[in-house]
Amino acid sequence: MIKVSFFAALREQLNCNETQLNVSESITVEQARVLLVESHPEWQQHLKNNSLLTAVNHDLVDDNFIVKPNDELAFFPPVTGG
């Protein structure tokens, strides 16, 4: 099981803070995105946004990064703090 979180504008667009992917093997970030869209087709336009950032276990990663079961995955828009 991979925990998946969404933040800020993306959280509002998906109307979802957190969900999970029931996988027992490692997958790439890109595969995780595909699985999320398979289970929530209405998320496609938002999750395909190229400007979205991805973090695994609190580190920024790219689409080829390998996510393992029990990892924490998060998608969010470019940050705007400070």
Binding site: S5, F7, A8, A9, E12, S51, A55, N57, H58, D59, L60, K68, N70, D71, A74, F76, P77, P78, V79, T80, G81, G82
Partner: protein
């Protein structure tokens, strides 16, 4: 779990909080019993009354708990590798903030001012593009998530 933990430097202070902070208390913490460092540089970011021509009434700051702290720790660690630094404090507020309120504080001490200036600006530049905070502004035209600025991305890339 492949979580990599960076042990925080003894002289690092990272705080994420909803409440306000006292700039003078923070400077005291940076200077107290610290007679090696002749230079203290602080940055304080505040809520402006105007953004891209729109009246701003306030903003809401969302963050990613856990990642925020880790991200700031990595930025500080990178700064410590680049420059000889003394104490470093980073405070970022979250939640609802109004015009003129303090949002973020970065304080850096060093033996030499050049290092303190550079590290402080470096930390702010990377906080702006790496630390998971998001601002939603309440303007005269309603609530709106801020767009990231390419000028911030460019500024960070210059280091």
């Amino acid at each position: 779990m492949s979580k990599t933990n960076i042990p925080p430097h003894l002289n690092d202070r990272i705080v994420i909080q909803t409440q306000d902070f006292s700039l003078s208390e923070e400077v005291n913490l940076l200077e107290e019993n610290n007679n090696e460092d002749g230079a203290v540089v602080t940055f304080c970011g505040r809520v402006r009354n105007n953004n891209l021509g729109l009246d701003v009434k306030g903003l809401t700051l969302e963050h990613y708990p856990g990642m925020t702290e880790k991200s700031l720790q990595k930025i500080i660690l990178t700064a410590r590798k680049k420059w000889e630094l003394g104490r470093i404090t980073v405070i970022h507020r979250v939640g609802k903030l109004f015009i003129g309120e303090q949002i973020v504080f970065v304080g850096v001490t060093s033996k030499h001012r050049g290092n303190a200036f550079a590290a402080n600006e470096f930390i702010m530049d990377f906080l702006k593009v790496k630390a998971p905070f998001w601002k939603k502004e309440l303007t005269s035209e309603g609530e709106k998530w801020l767009d990231a600025k390419s000028s911030d991305t460019n500024k960070a890339q210059e280091w």
